[in-house]
């Protein structure tokens, strides 16, 4: 048999991922972003280094001297910010973000139990996978990312009928609606949702994503805002919550996505 090990692949293969590998470590980046308070730092470290087993105890300890909101904002959410930064720099992979979010969930339950009236979220997002579409892994990832960035999520699940989506949006009045689809024949539910919302006099950003979905298609119907990856969700939703309508988000989409969420207006 051929000796495949003798082949020199360099004329036809470049491992750009290895060429571009970051020289910085997660520890380097985290060190620049930790909160000063030692108890909050410990909570943030639990999130950044995926210590799901110790986060509850460390949140309890921080709550001894700090308010629940201080622990959430300064420890748990700061931890998620650091994780996002390490992910954006291409060092962490998606599972790091997901496991960090699991740790965040554990920590926030402890902090919220000390809050009277529950935690105020940054805004509400209704999420669904299109009618006829059973594929929902992308939606689930996006939901985790939105929750761990402080947004409230109403997850309607997969294969959700158009009328059910519209009814829920009319009832809950979220800041944003999202829809995902893997197939071209199910993504056609999106313009029907948008049309029915419009008939009901409601216009909100409708973030659409998924395997078969492309930007051109999403921008062909009112309210549609395209997302390529789940990680773009918090960036787009933050603008909607900040008062941008779907047209403005769509117009600034390139800057929002390629600029890491920063536009001339910040």
């Amino acid at each position: 048999m051929v000796d495949f090990d003798s082949i020199n692949v360099s004329p036809f293969l470049t491992r750009y991922d290895i060429v571009m590998e970051s020289k910085e470590s997660p520890q380097d980046i985290a060190a620049r972003m930790y909160p000063e308070d030692p108890a909050l730092k410990k909570v943030a470290e639990d999130i950044v280094f995926l210590r799901g087993k110790s986060v509850e105890g460390d949140v309890e300890a921080a709550l001894a001297n700090l308010s629940p909101n201080e622990v959430i904002d300064g420890g748990l959410l700061r931890g998620i910010e650091i994780v996002s930064e390490i992910y954006d720099r291409g060092i962490y992979y998606l599972p790091h973000v997901m496991v960090a979010a699991d740790a965040f969930d554990k920590g926030i339950k402890v902090a919220e139990s000390k809050l009277s009236g529950g935690r105020q979220t940054k805004g509400t997002v209704v999420m669904h996978a299109a009618e006829g579409d059973p594929h929902d892994i992308g939606k689930n990832i996006a939901a985790v990312m939105l929750r761990s960035n402080g947004y409230g999520v109403i997850d309607m699940g997969r294969d959700v009928a158009v009328d059910d989506v519209v009814r829920t949006v009319m009832e809950k009045k979220p800041a944003v609606l999202t829809g995902t689809a893997l197939m071209t024949t199910t993504m056609s539910a999106f313009p029907r949702v948008a049309d029915k919302l419009k008939e009901n006099g409601l216009e909100i950003p409708f973030i659409c994503a998924g395997g078969a979905v492309n930007r051109g298609y999403v921008e062909s119907f009112p309210m549609g805002v395209y997302a390529d990856k789940a990680a773009e969700g918090p960036r787009l939703v933050s603008k909607a919550v900040g008062g941008w309508d779907w047209r403005k988000i769509r117009e600034n989409w390139d800057k929002l996505i390629s600029g890491g969420g920063k536009t001339e207006e910040g």
Binding site: M1, V2, F4, D5, I7, V9, F12, L13, R15, Y16, D17, I18, E21, Y87, G90, I91, Y92, Y93, L94, P95, M98, V99, D102, G132, D133, P134, D136, I137, N140, I141, R158, D159, M183, T184, T185, T186, M187, S188, G211, A212, Y217
Partner: protein, 467 residues
């Protein structure tokens, strides 16, 4: 249910494996022969959005536009044979009598016309939709909302009775656990989801598919772990993607091969599904014809083994393309040209007696492009096959053996400085090896542990697997 598990390899050595030849060739459809020399292009397609509005508009799209375009181009370019594959869209699966039956009949009538007029050998694979949802229930009588399990079984009958030559499915058993695990890089969970639960579901499902196929004298083709290992592979992506490490997806592929094999163990004859990149491992064990996709499927997705995966195929596929116009004709015509010419090249190489040289050239160009390509290279695929058949009767133990063998092969090549890995790919691989080695040697112990560990995973219902 007692099924006969493979305990030895059908091929005596890896070098025996070559495109176009299988141990158990097939003849079916309108004069089509598979696995006995010539490589057959398999063209797959999706209708344009909007065409699904009515049964009439969908039939027009599938039959009058797509099927006719495919056959016209096959004759125009002089291809001796072609297989069509129709992956059912949800509307067809939800109402098979109304939406699917006229399409299945219409496609076959069109194919007969071309076969009678030009003598072209052709056949059609119908891949019915598996819309079952774990939380609603995977077995008949469980899903009171959609009745998807019942609809799946009805779809099989409709396809088999009205014109399908090959029955296939991309089944979803164990997906709820695999989805949960893949985003947490939890190989133990993935092994439980696909290696164990997926195999149990395959055994139940494929027993019925084989029965329907036998009753209607059609071919029970095979499955693919599209819902699991392809999810991992697409998330792992290329060199700009960082959703999961490619070492993780490579190991999931090896685990998936033990699960996809189950269809054959309960009576499927091949050809298995094109998007089952685990095909080389399944073929090494079973000797059954295999359909594969690679560089000719760039219309559907990018992969890191576009050439390599042609190494042992019997059909060469484009995966799927949405019907639309291109400069060179409709999309199905253009992509049929791509796969049909490649099939002709492979077939011609047999007469030139350069087929093994071509196979090895395919492999050489991609072997070190990714860990998944590396473990699917036919020599490594064969070694993983040996690990599976050597592990005995347990679905769990053989899937674990496949995953561990794949991980060890990757590590050994990386240690030699051949297969390059990024830091995270290497770290992930080390964790995978440690995790798999830490698991018990008894299936019962593993299952008891896993049922507790994953009890709260959304949509996971042990009763779907009779557990």
């Amino acid at each position: 249910m007692a099924t006969k598990r493979f305990t030895k390899m059908e091929y005596g050595s890896a070098d025996e494996m070559i495109f176009g030849e299988s141990k158990y060739p097939l003849s079916y459809g309108l004069g089509l022969k598979v696995g006995s020399g010539p490589i057959v292009p398999e063209i797959n397609f999706a209708p344009r959005p909007g065409s699904e509005k009515t049964p009439e508009s969908l039939k027009r799209e599938y039959v009058d536009y797509i099927t006719k375009d495919v056959l016209d181009r096959a004759v125009t370019l002089g291809f001796a044979s072609v297989q069509l594959e129709n992956e059912w869209i949800s509307q067809m699966g939800s109402n098979s009598e109304k939406f699917a039956k006229p399409i299945v009949e219409g496609q076959k009538n069109m194919m007969r016309k071309y076969h009678d007029e030009y003598g072209i050998a052709c056949a059609i694979r119908h891949t019915i939709a598996d819309q079952r949802e774990g939380d609603a229930g995977l077995r008949p009588g469980m899903d009171s909302k959609h009745a998807y399990p019942e609809k799946l079984l009805e779809s099989l009958e409709v396809a088999a009775k009205n014109g399908a030559d090959v029955l296939s499915i991309e089944s979803v058993g164990g997906k709820e656990i695999a989805d949960y695990s893949v985003v947490r890089q939890d190989i133990k969970g993935w092994l439980f989801g696909i290696g164990y639960l997926g195999s149990l579901d395959m055994e139940w499902l494929w027993t019925q598919i084989v029965d329907v196929a036998k009753k209607n004298k059609v071919v029970p083709g095979g499955d693919t772990n599209c819902a699991g290992a392809n999810t991992a592979m697409f998330m792992a992506g290329g060199f700009l993607d960082r959703d999961i490490p490619r070492t993780f997806s490579a190991v999931t592929r090896a685990i998936a091969s033990a699960r996809t094999l189950v269809a054959i163990e309960v009576g499927a004859t091949g050809p298995d599904k094109d998007c089952g990149y685990e095909g080389p491992i399944v073929k090494a064990i079973s000797g059954r014809p295999s359909s594969q996709e690679g560089k000719g499927a760039q219309c559907a997705h990018a992969d890191l083994m576009g050439n390599l995966v042609a190494q042992t195929c019997d059909l060469w596929s484009n995966e799927s393309v949405e019907y639309h116009p291109e400069f060179g004709g409709s999309s199905v015509q253009c992509w049929l040209g791509v796969i049909g010419y490649e099939a002709a090249l492979m077939t011609a190489s047999k007469q030139m007696k350069t087929d093994k040289m071509l196979r090895d050239t395919y492999v050489a160009s991609d072997r070190f492009r990714s860990p998944e390509a590396f473990i699917l290279s036919y020599d490594n695929a064969y070694r993983i096959g040996q690990a599976i058949v050597g592990a005995g009767d347990s679905y769990y133990l053989r899937a674990k053996a496949a995953g561990l063998k794949a991980a060890e092969l990757i590590q050994a090549s990386n240690d030699k400085g051949k297969l390059k890995l990024s830091k995270e790919e290497k770290d992930a691989l080390n964790r995978i090896v440690a995790d798999l080695r830490s698991l018990p040697d008894e299936e019962g112990k593993f299952v008891d542990w896993a049922l507790k560990e994953y009890a709260s995973v959304p949509a996971f219902e042990p009763k779907n697997y009779e557990l």
